[in-house]
Amino acid sequence: MHTEQQILRVPLDHSVDWRFLLPFSQDETVLFVGDQSNYLKKVFEDMGFPAAAWPCTISLPDVSSLRLSQSTFHIVAMPYGMAADTPLGKTDATSIYGAVRAFLKPGGVLLLGFNNVFRGNDTKIPAASRGQIRKTLRRAGYLAINFYGVYPNVMIPEYIIPLELFPFLFAMDFHLRSRLPGSLLGILSNRLVFTGISNLLPAYFAVAKP
């Protein structure tokens, strides 16, 4: 009996577009750390990028016994941060990022996603201000740190925004269907106002190099 067909498949995760901030290629290796790392590993392998996973069930002392500790990577990605209710999440953040740094090849890069501090702990994504993350990463040995604004969240971002005035205004105007009144655009175009507002985005990605 012939029946109507819907050809469906398990979709590639849409929310991995942060990969364009990173040097993904078939020659670069990546380690995913934390929540959903096994899933992300599968997604990237499906796309042809070699990947490894460091799931959130392990704790920091386990790291030395991992076979993975023998390897280093061009990229370490924690796009959803480290959930607070996991063994790693309960560890001091500086220690985690420090341990992660040991997995980076020279010139390697860390991606870290986090919610803005005002979102509190209403999700599994850790919340912090950009200043707090910058301070923690510096303490862990990362010297070059760039931030990107994320809207509406790091799980399914719709915009990944460089923290510069005009791209930010364009994204706002685009999102609001070109309905921002000219007077408001004028106010927002003030660089001081922009600096304040850029601290109020719901989430961020940090891209950090030792």
């Binding site: 819907q6 849409h14 577009d17 971002p157 791209p167």
Partner: protein
């Protein structure tokens, strides 16, 4: 040293002398990523490139979510080049300029100029679709712009041109995927006959946009003319019906609430009937009757669009995309239209 794809993109563009000279590109370029939220896995993401202290982007880069979909961007790049060649001085007023097709980190990237304007999708909220005067104006404007573009691209067919086999593949996939009534099967046979007899006799082909709906149209600033985006489904064809009728069906679907496929298709059909008296004739009249290339009668043109949209993603990507199934339902509704005779009469 690891360098991100976006940094490599900047470096690649800056190394292209003809490009930097014509655009006077100034570093640094800040890239804004529009990831389109929950868009399909087989869609592209859009990256806007801002030169230092410019309030609007200069560049737009398209990157497929899945690197295997490079062919989509190559099609868009090639067809945009065709269109620019055909449109000549009109091209900057109608189309993004294809600037480069690159492969960076095994990832295809299409770079185009940014079109400054307001998307009709963004200026067309639900209240727009309740105002018949606005709808009529949009339809007429779009029809005229489409016709103008078609006339510019009309080119003599060559012996190698074969748009029939692509069409037959879609019909065959439609029959394979769906359980069709005798009436529906007969409608498919009629379209095949029309394409094999009448359409095949035309001696000119035109460049179809391939996804001609208001969401892919921008009203340009400051000139106010309609400009056309998203050429990834573009192709040459003797038959312009896909573009002409896709605009109508997509508008009818946009004008009704997003509900289950059956209800949505029924609502869209009611909308078409409301538009039948004034809006559809005005639209078709504004487009006019081409002499050198084919435009199917409305019944067959509308059905052809449903077939194309119902099977396109299965053929191109191997799986359905969200919203495909409404086109299959709409096909059925259009075939079984209760007042089919009077609806299709004269159009």
């Amino acid at each position: 040293m690891t360098v991100s794809l976006l940094d490599k993109l900047t470096a690649a563009l800056m190394s292209m002398e003809d490009l930097t000279e014509s655009l006077h590109l100034e570093l640094p370029i800040a890239w804004l990523i529009l990831t389109n939220g929950e868009a399909e896995p087989d869609d592209n993401i859009i990256v806007f490139g801002f030169e230092a202290d410019r309030s609007l982007p200069t560049l737009v880069a398209k990157i497929p979510r899945s690197p295997k979909n490079a062919w989509m961007l190559q099609t868009e790049y090639d067809r945009l080049q065709d269109a620019w060649r055909c449109l000549g001085a009109q091209a900057p007023l109608r189309l993004p300029k294809p600037l480069a097709m690159l492969t960076l980190d095994d990832q295809p990237v299409l770079v185009m100029s940014y079109l400054h304007g307001v998307s009709l999708l963004r200026t067309s909220p639900s209240r727009f679709w309740r105002n018949n005067n606005q709808i009529r104006e949009l339809f007429i404007d779009s029809a005229r712009a489409l016709r103008e573009m078609n006339e510019h691209t009309a080119t003599l067919v060559s012996p190698d041109d074969d748009d029939l086999s692509d069409f037959l593949l879609k019909i065959s996939k439609f029959r394979e995927l769906f359980v069709l009534s005798e009436k529906e099967q007969a409608a498919l046979d009629e379209i095949i006959t029309l394409q094999k007899t009448q359409t095949a006799d035309f001696t000119y082909k035109v460049l179809l946009q391939g996804d001609f709906w208001h969401g892919n149209i921008v009203r340009g600033k400051p000139h106010g003319r309609l400009m056309f985006l998203d050429w990834q489904y573009s192709r040459w064809s003797r038959d312009v019906s896909l573009d002409v009728y896709m605009f109508v069906l997509a508008a009818a679907l946009a004008a009704v609430p997003r509900r289950m496929d059956k209800e949505r298709a029924e609502d869209a059909l009611k909308t078409l009937m409301q538009w039948r008296t004034e809006i559809l004739p005005a639209y078709l009249s504004a487009y006019g009757r081409p002499v050198n290339y084919a435009l199917l009668p409305a019944r067959y043109g509308l059905l052809l669009c449903c077939i194309e949209k119902a099977v396109r993603s299965v053929i191109d990507f191997g799986s359905n995309q969200y919203g495909d199934s409404v086109w299959r339902v709409l096909f059925s509704k259009l075939v079984n239209m209760p007042e089919g005779g009077s609806f299709y009469e004269g159009i």
